[in-house]
C-alpha cells in the first residue's frame, strides 16, 4: 500500500505493520514536541491533528500486527497495488490535501474549535443522510427529505414559543411540555413516510415519483399551516430556551476550570444515531432484508422476504430520522420558516453517493456515509474559511460529486 515504487518488491507483513506502528509512534512524539515547543499563536492546535493522524497510523499498524492469520501473506509494492490504493482512497487523499492547503493558507484553521464547528454542522446532515441511505439501498431515492425537515421545524417551533413573544403562532396556547410538540412534529413526518412507503410498496411506484409527489404535498401543507392567521407566513421566532437547548447546548464547557469551548450536544446525538442505524443495518433481519430487496427484489420475494413490510419500514424509518433532524435544526437556529430544509435531500444523496452508496441498490456502508457527509462539510467550511465565493463553492461541490462517483464506478468495472 501507499508506495509508488516502480519495481515490484515485497516485504513481510510483520515488517510492514512495524513500519506503520513506528511512524505512528514518531507522529505522536512529534505532536508532543509541537504542543510544547511550537509557538501557539502561529500553529494553534496543530499538535492535536498530528496526534490524531499518529494514533490512526499506529492503530493500523498494531491491528495488522494482531491479525496473525494474515502474517503469511507478504505485502507487495507494485504499480497495480498503488493504483488500487489510490482509487480506493482518492476522495480521502484529496480531502487531506485540501485540509493541509487551507491550514497553510490560513493557520487559524488549525484551531480545535474549527474541528468541533465542522462536526456540529455535519451532525444534522448526517442524520438526514442516514435516513436517505435506506431508500438508496433499495435502488430508490427520497426527494421529500428536505421538505420533511422543514415540516418538523415549523411544527415544533410553532408550538414552542415563549409566552411573552409578540407574534405567537398560537396566541392562547398554554406552555406545553417540550416533548409533546417534538413528538407531534416527528409523527407528522412519519405519517408522510407511511404515504411514501405505501405508494412504493403497494403500487410498485418508482420512489422518485412517489416521493416527488409527497415532497410537493408536504411543502403545500406546510405552507398552508405556516400561512394560518395570525402568523400569515411570518418567520417563527421567540422559541422557548428549554427547546433551543437541544440544539445549542454545549457539554464539557470550561471543564475543570479550563477554557474549553465545549462540545455541541448535536455531535453525540448524531453519533448515537449512527451506532443505532449501523446496528439496524448490520445486525437485524430487517437490515439484511434491505440489502436483499436492493440486490434483487424478485429473489427476495421468492426467499420469503416480506417486501411490502420492508419497504414500508424503510420509508417510515427515514421519515422518522428527517423529523428528528428537522427538530434539531429548528432548535439549533431557534426559529423556522416553511423554506427550511429546502434541497437537503440532494446534499444528503450526494454525500451518500460520494461515500460509496450505489444508486443501483444493495451496496453501501455506514462508514462511507459518515465520510461522505464529513467531506462535504469540510469542503464547504474550509472554502468559506479562506474566502472562496459561494458560487465557486457550488462549482467545486459539483465537480467533487462527478469525480468521486466516476472513481467509485471504476472500482466495480472489471476488465
Amino acid at each position: 500500500m501507499g508506495a509508488t515504487a516502480k519495481a515490484t518488491n515485497t516485504i513481510t507483513r510483520k515488517k510492514y505493520a512495524m513500519i506503520f506502528a513506528l511512524i505512528g509512534a514518531a507522529l505522536i512524539l512529534l505532536s508532543i514536541i509541537v504542543a510544547v515547543a511550537a509557538p501557539k499563536d502561529q500553529v494553534y492546535d496543530l499538535w492535536m491533528y498530528i496526534l490524531l493522524v499518529g494514533i490512526a497510523t499506529g492503530a493500523y499498524g498494531i491491528s495488522q500486527l494482531l491479525r496473525k492469520e494474515q502474517h503469511s501473506v507478504p505485502v507487495e509494492f507494485s504499480r497495480s497495488n498503488a493504483k488500487t490504493f489510490l482509487t480506493n482512497n482518492a476522495i480521502m487523499i484529496a480531502l487531506l490535501a485540501l485540509v493541509v492547503f487551507i491550514m497553510i493558507k490560513e493557520p487559524r484553521f488549525m484551531k480545535y474549535q474549527v474541528l468541533l464547528d465542522i462536526m456540529t454542522q455535519a451532525s444534522p446532515r448526517l442524520i438526514i443522510a442516514l435516513g436517505i441511505c435506506f431508500t438508496l439501498l433499495i435502488a430508490g431515492t427520497d426527494l421529500s427529505a428536505g421538505r420533511m425537515v422543514g415540516l418538523a421545524a415549523v411544527l415544533s417551533t410553532s408550538m414552542l414559543q415563549t409566552a411573552t413573544y409578540a407574534n405567537r403562532f398560537f396566541p392562547n396556547l398554554p406552555a406545553l411540555p417540550v416533548i409533546v410538540p417534538i413528538l407531534a412534529a416527528v409523527a407528522a413526518c412519519v405519517l408522510f413516510g407511511v404515504l411514501n412507503g405505501f405508494l412504493v410498496a403497494k403500487f410498485d411506484m418508482h420512489p422518485f415519483i412517489a416521493t416527488l409527489a409527497t415532497q410537493v404535498m408536504i411543502y403545500g401543507a406546510c405552507s398552508l399551516y405556516f400561512d394560518m392567521p395570525p402568523n400569515n407566513s411570518q418567520p417563527i421566532g421567540g422559541v422557548r430556551p428549554d427547546f433551543t437547548v437541544i440544539g445549542q447546548k454545549k457539554i464539557f464547557q470550561n471543564v475543570g476550570g479550563s477554557t474549553f469551548v465545549g462540545i455541541s450536544v448535536l455531535i453525540p446525538i448524531a453519533l448515537i444515531t449512527c451506532v443505532i442505524i449501523w446496528f439496524v443495518l448490520n445486525k437485524t433481519v430487517f437490515g439484511k432484508n434491505v440489502y436483499a430487496v436492493g440486490g434483487n427484489r424478485e429473489a427476495a420475494v421468492v426467499s420469503g422476504v416480506n417486501v411490502f413490510k420492508t419497504i414500508m419500514l424503510i420509508f417510515i424509518l427515514a421519515a422518522f430520522l428527517y423529523g428528528i433532524a428537522g427538530v434539531l435544526e429548528a432548535a439549533r437556529t431557534a426559529g423556522a420558516t416553511n423554506n427550511y430544509g429546502n434541497g437537503y435531500e440532494l446534499d444528503a444523496i450526494a454525500a451518500c453517493v460520494v461515500g460509496g452508496v450505489s444508486l443501483n441498490g444493495g451496496i453501501g456502508k455506514i462508514g462511507g456515509i459518515v465520510s461522505g457527509v464529513l467531506i462535504f462539510t469540510v469542503i464547504q467550511y474550509g472554502l468559506q474559511f479562506i474566502g472562496v465565493s459561494p458560487m465557486w463553492q457550488q462549482v467545486i461541490k459539483g465537480i467533487i460529486i462527478a469525480v468521486a462517483v466516476a472513481i467509485d464506478m471504476g472500482k466495480y468495472r472489471r476488465r
Binding site: 445486525k283 439484511k288 432484508n289 440489502y291 429473489a299 420475494v301 421468492v302 426467499s303 444493495g362 472489471r414
Partner: protein, 500 residues
C-alpha cells in the same frame, strides 16, 4: 490463408484471487464446428469473452487469418468478423425485434433510420433461418426459445467468419435444436467456423468436428469428435472416470400421499388449467413437457408467486391456502426457481447472506429479529459444505461464483429451511456433469430422509433417470402421469406434443 481461421495462443487471464485462464490455446479451422467443453468455471466463457473483446487477456496472442490482433471491444470483434450468441439473452424488451437485431447499425436514409429497409432486411434474414416471426413484434413478447433463434439470426446477419455460440440450446426444445443444427450445417457449408459451447454430450458428438476440453482454466486437449465418446469426454472434463450419470436408487417411495393438487386453474386462460396430481412421501415426482407447457407457472402458482383462480391444495391430508411464498414456506415448501439470476441470487451480497436469507425470514437463527452472527455463519458453512460449494470464503460476493456454485448455494439456502416438499425447477440447467451428479445425490439423500421432491426438467435422460413418476404437460394441461421405469422418451414426447 493458413490452416486455421483463428488461433488463440497461450491466453492467460487473472481475476483478483483466481487464475481464470492459464496458458490456454485454441485453434479453429474454417468451415468447422469446434466444440468447447468443460465443467462450470473451467474458463470456457472467459476465453470466449477474451476473444469477443469483453475481457482483456493478461498475456497471449490472438491470430485471425494469420494476422495477430488485439481485440479491445465487442465492436472491434464484430468488425473483424467474430460474432457471439451469449448464454444469457438481454433483449430490449419494449422495442421491436428488428431494432434489436440491427441496433448500432440501423439502415439509414440520409440522417434518418430507414424502417422500411430494416423491415425488409429482417424478413429476408428470418427467411434464411426459417423463422416465422413478424419483425415488428416486441422482443419482450417472444418466448425464450424464439428469442434464442432471433439471436442466432442476428449472429448470422453480421456475416461473420466465426460465430461463437454459448449454450445456444439451453432453452430450446428438441425440434428447435434440430432446426438450429440445420442452420449450423448451412453456415458451415458457407465456410464459416462455429465455436460451440454446450454441456449436452449428445449434441456435441452429433454436430461438432473437433472438441477442445478445458478443466480448471487449463486446456486438456483437442480431439476430432469421431474419436470421442460421452464417457471419454466426461472423464477428461472432470479428470476422473464417471461410469454412472445418475446415483443408484436405494429407496422406494412410500404409499402415503403428502401433497395433493386438485384441479387448480390459472385465471389466465392460456396458462395452466385443471391440473391435478398427488405426490407420495419420499418420491421424486418429475414434471416434463416442452418449453411453454406452463410447468413453471404451475409450480410458481402453488408456491404463491402467481394467482390460482380455482382448485384446492392439500398437504398431509389437510386443505391449505397459499397466498405468498411466505405462506408456502410456513407449510414446509421450498422452490428453486428456473431463472437463477432473475429470481434466485443476490449478486452483490455475500454467499453467507445468500444462504441464510430464507431461514432468517422464517424467524430461525435469530433472536427477536436480531441476527446471530455465530449461528448464521455456522449454518451457512455447514449447509454449503454438504453441497460442496466452491467459494474462497463465506463472505465472497455471490456474483463472483460460477453458475454451478451459485446453484449449489441456492439449494443450500432451501435445505437450510428444512422443507418437506422441495420444488426444483430445472435444477441442473447450465451446470457441469460433476455438479449435476452432486445435485442428484442430494436429491436421493432428501427422499431417503422422507422428504418429497418435485422436479421440472427439460432433459429427458434426467427426467426419466431421476424421477419415480413423471407428469407430462402440454399447453397448460396434464396429458399423462406415468411410471418412469415403464416409460421411454418417445412416450413422454408423445404426451408432450398431444395438443400440437
Amino acid at each position: 490463408m493458413g490452416e486455421y481461421v483463428l488461433e488463440m495462443n497461450n491466453i492467460t487471464k487473472e481475476f483478483p484471487g483466481v487464475k481464470a485462464l492459464d496458458n490456454v490455446s485454441l485453434k479453429v479451422r474454417p468451415g468447422s464446428v469446434h466444440a468447447l467443453m468443460g465443467e462450470n468455471g473451467a474458463g470456457k466463457s472467459t476465453l470466449m469473452k477474451c476473444l469477443f473483446g469483453i475481457y482483456a487477456e493478461d498475456s497471449g496472442e490472438i491470430i485471425l487469418d494469420g494476422k495477430p490482433q488485439k481485440i479491445n471491444s465487442s465492436k472491434q470483434a464484430l468488425d473483424l468478423g467474430i460474432s457471439m450468441i451469449h448464454q444469457e439473452l438481454h433483449p430490449i424488451r419494449f422495442r421491436p425485434v428488428m431494432e434489436n437485431i440491427w441496433l448500432g447499425r440501423f439502415p439509414k436514409r440520409g440522417p434518418a433510420v430507414d424502417h422500411k429497409a430494416m423491415y425488409e432486411k429482417t424478413k429476408e434474414l428470418f427467411k434464411e433461418v426459417d423463422l416465422d416471426v413478424d419483425p415488428k413484434t416486441l422482443a419482450g413478447n417472444l418466448s425464450a426459445s424464439t428469442l434464442q433463434l432471433v439471436e442466432i439470426a442476428k449472429a448470422v446477419s453480421y456475416n461473420s467468419k466465426i460465430i461463437i455460440m454459448d449454450e445456444p440450446t439451453s432453452s430450446l426444445t428438441e425440434n428447435e435444436t434440430a432446426h438450429l443444427f440445420k442452420i449450423i450445417k448451412k453456415l458451415q457449408s458457407e465456410g464459416r467456423a462455429i465455436i460451440y459451447i454446450s454441456h449436452k454430450m449428445e449434441e456435441i458428438l452429433k454436430i461438432s468436428d473437433e472438441v477442445t476440453i478445458m478443466r480448471d482454466g487449463q486446456c486438456v486437449g483437442t480431439w476430432p469428435a469421431n474419436e470421442l465418446t460421452t464417457d471419454l469426454i466426461i472423464s477428461r472434463m472432470v479428470g476422473r472416470d464417471m461410469t454412472n450419470r445418475f446415483p443408484p436408487k436405494e429407496y422406494t417411495p412410500g404409499t402415503d400421499v403428502v401433497f395433493k393438487v386438485d384441479d387448480i386453474c390459472s385465471p389466465l386462460p392460456r396458462s395452466f388449467q385443471h391440473v391435478s396430481f398427488e405426490v407420495h412421501r419420499g418420491e421424486i415426482f418429475g414434471i416434463g413437457g416442452l418449453v411453454g407447457a406452463q410447468r413453471t407457472e404451475t409450480v410458481e402458482a402453488i408456491f404463491g408467486l402467481r394467482q390460482i383462480a380455482s382448485g384446492t391444495i392439500y398437504k398431509d391430508g389437510k386443505e391449505i391456502k397459499i397466498k405468498s411464498p411466505r405462506d408456502a414456506m410456513k407449510h414446509g415448501f421450498a422452490l428453486l426457481t428456473e431463472e437463477r439470476r432473475a429470481t434466485g441470487i443476490f449478486p452483490t451480497l455475500s454467499v453467507l447472506d445468500n444462504t441464510v436469507i430464507a431461514t432468517e425470514n422464517e424467524g430461525k437463527l435469530v433472536h427477536h429479529s436480531i441476527i446471530n452472527n455465530f449461528a448464521r455463519k455456522k449454518a451457512a458453512t455447514d449447509s454449503n459444505a454438504s453441497m460442496r460449494t466452491k467459494t474462497p470464503s463465506m463472505l465472497e460476493q455471490m456474483q463472483n461464483l460460477s453458475g454451478g456454485n451459485q446453484q449449489k448455494v441456492l439449494i443450500a439456502r432451501w435445505l437450510l429451511t428444512d422443507p418437506d416438499i422441495l420444488f426444483l425447477d430445472e435444477p441442473t440447467r447450465g451446470i457441469d456433469v460433476g455438479a449435476k451428479y452432486e445435485i442428484y445425490t442430494i436429491m436421493q439423500q432428501l427422499i431417503k430422509e422422507g422428504k418429497s421432491v418435485i422436479m421440472i426438467s427439460s432433459e429427458m435422460p434426467e427426467l426419466l433417470g431421476m424421477s419415480d413418476r413423471v407428469m407430462v404437460m402440454c399447453e397448460g394441461r396434464v396429458t399423462g402421469i406415468v411410471n418412469a421405469g415403464e416409460c421411454d422418451s418417445v412416450k413422454v414426447m408423445e404426451l408432450a406434443t398431444k395438443f400440437m
